[in-house]
């Protein structure tokens, strides 16, 4: 059988469920199974995430910290420009406070300045972590984990976490809505005043609905061959692109900076 065209099939008509999508882009099969070239391989991203955390938190170098913030902001800008802007302003505010404390070493300013200094450093790691969460497609990550021959007991839980996390959030939101309408006030204050009672009200419906989702999910996955004895193949293409080279070099640069500049924290 050969089906050359991937254009819309016979079932698609204007007033259909499929037409309910806001922007139906004609899908190209091959591109659906790989990330765009500007997104590095998940393994590169994860390694650089570790490098940023290690260097920024282990070295006192200011240059290193600024470089790390810059790197994280640039990466974030390739996927969510608005988030990048937010990260940049947070880091800039922190830096300004730290510099102000150096210029006018009043006790209050010093206290605020130290907080600003660490805020700037943590912005680097947090912004890059957000980038990793957005840029890494779960399916591509699973393909990457399989490629490096991680055993199934590692790969399957990773998939399940990606799959169940949004479900749990959605269910928790729905339970909270229901509590609001029943006058059970699931606000932060009631958690402080009646932590156990409020927690119990939230947890029982949440657990039952998440367990139920989990059961249905398990059944659907098992009858589609999850857990078969053979090693699963992977249809997602992994390839190292210029984005990986750039990101890898940047990570290497951070290590060099960490070694050559500044002293060690703690």
């Amino acid at each position: 059988m050969s089906v050359a065209s991937t254009s819309n099939g016979p079932a698609l008509s204007e007033d259909t469920a499929v037409a309910e999508t806001h922007s139906p882009t004609p899908g190209d099969l091959d591109s659906a199974f790989r990330s765009p070239a500007r997104i590095p391989d998940p393994r590169t991203i994860l390694i650089v995430l570790i490098v940023i955390n290690a260097t920024v938190l282990a070295s006192t170098s200011q240059i290193l910290a600024y470089t790390a913030v810059l790197l994280a902001v640039i990466c974030l800008a390739t996927v969510r420009p608005r988030y990048a802007l937010t990260a940049l302003s947070i880091a800039a505010t922190g830096t300004a406070l730290a510099l102000a404390a150096v210029a006018w070493p009043l006790p209050v300013l010093v206290f605020v300045g130290v907080i600003g200094h660490w805020t700037m450093r943590f912005t680097a790691t947090a912004a890059f972590a957000v980038y990793a969460l957005i840029a890494i497609r779960p399916s591509v990550l699973v393909a990457a984990l399989r490629r490096v021959h991680l055993p199934r007991f590692v790969v399957v839980p990773v998939t399940v976490i990606f799959r169940m996390f949004p479900t749990i959030l959605r269910e928790a939101g729905a339970v909270r809505d229901a509590m609001t309408l029943r006058g059970l006030h699931p606000d932060p204050l009631s958690f402080l005043v009646h932590p156990i009672r409020t927690g119990e009200l939230l947890i029982v419906p949440l657990l039952t609905s998440v367990i139920r989702s989990g059961d249905e999910l398990t059944a659907a996955a098992l009858v589609r061959g999850l857990g078969r004895p053979e090693r699963p193949s992977s249809v997602f293409t992994l390839r190292f692109t210029s984005a990986d080279v750039l990101l890898g070099l940047a990570g290497l640069g951070l290590i060099v900076l960490a070694v050559t500049t500044g002293g060690r924290a703690g």
């Binding site: 819309n8 007033d15 139906p24 998939t159 053979e230």
Partner: protein, 489 residues
């Protein structure tokens, strides 16, 4: 034995004792938590399409589970007799081998996907069988050509509507190239437009030579797809009719068998008169606007929901019905406009108190340790003394269940607990979100009566539904939402 041939020979199935937790978590409609079946004999030739139907609790889901290798493998119990699909004995087949012969499209589009994106989902079953990449792509291409979802292939699953998700499930099943495709109430969560497409896709699957077995409550859309209808009741096959004879049943006959409509509902105006006593006052929505981010979801000039009236809110998936419900309940705050009750504009907090909602997934809203505690939860002391609990239990059919844990009840019973809680709150505004999805005819009639009782007490009753049959049975007026003209700002 030919591929796609199903034989069911003197089959029975008795559910084992499920763990307490599993019982708590069981969502299945009414008595279908685990209906034992017995003495089932069927022969389904390759390439034919068979409907399994019957009232809630008739055992059709149990039978489908046996055919699909889900019971006794995943639903513990004792099977007797023999079920074969393409010559494989299903009752003893390893669960991970099921993928080689049968695929199941499940009822709930939200919980049958293992990955987070369409492309990955279509490949999932094939990757598990360690197929070559080229083979996987070729199969997906061919399946997509049948179901017409090429435009969705690079989308995330959580961005799709229920109808689109069911098409993805059909495509994934088709890509597996199974001999047999099983459907467990696939239309439960779908709008009429989506059901039409689903039905076109099922016709395509049939023409491609797959054997189809469909367990379903909604029947009209299957006219022209199925060859036979197997009617179950009380765990046994009662009738096995050719499609022509089945769809020729009179309205009285199908009601007597506890079946839903066999012909699509005529879009007739609702004939149920509103309660005359409460025509003054009600809920009015004016110049209401609401956006998620930059996407305008709600843009309504004026809409009235009188007291004593059951208003059905319909429209395609994703048109903003749920958003409107959230605005009315005060769970979301409008960007502009007013929502007023009896002429007084209400703030979001006030709307929280004025409204109650019976959610589609009703387990999320049951908080009490017993049915009685749940119904009275959140009531003021004076409201508690004023409440005639026995009468309320009687009216909602919960007599004898008041000491049970609400999460341990069947789907229909849990829904009635939520309705009783709404009645106890005496909310002037009661919303129902898809109350009949996946439920049979008798349940539909029951829910219509419960809504009527609330309206007769003078409440504004609003029901979000795709279910034409429920609208015909219960609604006094129908509002069809259309998408705002400016989708993106």
């Amino acid at each position: 034995m030919r591929a796609g041939h199903i034989t069911v020979d003197n089959v029975g199935f008795t559910y084992g004792a499920a763990s307490a937790l599993a019982q708590l978590a069981s969502a299945e409609s009414d008595a279908e938590v685990g209906v034992d079946i017995a003495d089932i004999d069927l022969d389904i030739p390759p390439g034919s399409a068979v409907l399994l139907c019957g009232p809630s609790g008739s055992g059709k889901t149990s039978l489908l589970r046996l055919l699909g290798g889900l019971a006794p493998q995943l639903h513990p119990g004792t099977a007797s007799g023999s079920v074969t699909v393409s010559g494989r004995e299903m009752t003893t087949l390893d669960v991970h081998r099921v993928v080689e012969v049968a695929a199941t499209v499940f009822q709930n589009p939200r919980t049958q996907f293992f990955t987070t994106e369409v492309a990955g989902e279509l490949a999932f079953g094939l990757e598990n069988q360690a197929m070559e990449r080229a083979e996987i792509l070729e199969r997906i291409r061919a399946a997509v050509a049948v179901t017409g979802i090429a435009g969705l292939i690079d989308r995330r699953l959580d961005s799709l509507s229920g109808g689109q998700l069911q098409l993805v499930a059909c495509t994934a099943a088709l890509a597996q190239r199974p001999d047999v495709i099983l459907f467990d109430e696939p239309s439960s969560n779908l709008s009429p437009a989506s059901i039409e497409i689903l039905s076109a896709v099922m016709r395509g699957l049939r023409e491609a030579g797959h054997t189809l077995v469909i367990a379903e409550h909604r029947l009209a859309y299957l006219d022209g797809i199925i060859d036979r209808a197997v009617l179950l009741d009380d765990g046994r096959v009662r009738e096995d009719l050719p499609a022509a004879q089945f769809f020729a049943l009179s309205d009285e006959q199908r009601r007597a068998k506890g079946l839903r409509r066999l012909r699509a509902a005529r879009p007739a105006p609702p004939s149920v008169p509103a309660s005359a006593a409460h025509t003054d006052g009600g809920l009015v929505v004016e110049n209401l606007r609401f956006s998620y981010g930059r996407t305008l979801v709600t843009d309504l000039d004026r809409m009235e929901f009188p007291r004593g009236t059951i208003t059905a809110l319909t429209g395609p998936n994703g048109v903003g019905k749920s958003t409107l419900a959230r605005l009315i309940c005060g769970l979301a705050k409008q960007d502009a406009g007013t929502i007023s009750l009896d002429g007084r504009a209400l703030r979001a907090r006030e709307r929280n108190r004025a409204a109650s909602m019976v959610m589609q997934d009703v387990g999320r809203q049951l908080f009490g340790e017993t049915v009685a505690a749940d119904i009275t939860m959140g009531l003021s002391a004076s409201a508690r003394t004023a409440l005639d609990l026995p009468a309320l239990l009687e009216a909602t059919g919960l007599i004898g269940l008041e000491e049970r844990h609400p999460q341990s009840l069947s789907g229909g019973q849990r829904q009635r607990v939520a309705i009783a809680a709404a009645a106890a709150q005496d909310s002037p505004v009661c919303l129902f979100d898809e109350p009949t999805s996946g439920l049979g005819f008798s349940h539909l009639v029951g829910i219509a009566a419960q809504m009527r009782a609330l309206a007769d007490r003078g409440a504004v009753v609003i029901v979000i539904t795709h279910d034409d049959e429920l609208i015909a049975e219960a609604a006094n007026s129908v509002i069809t939402l259309t998408p705002p003209l400016t989708r993106k700002g």
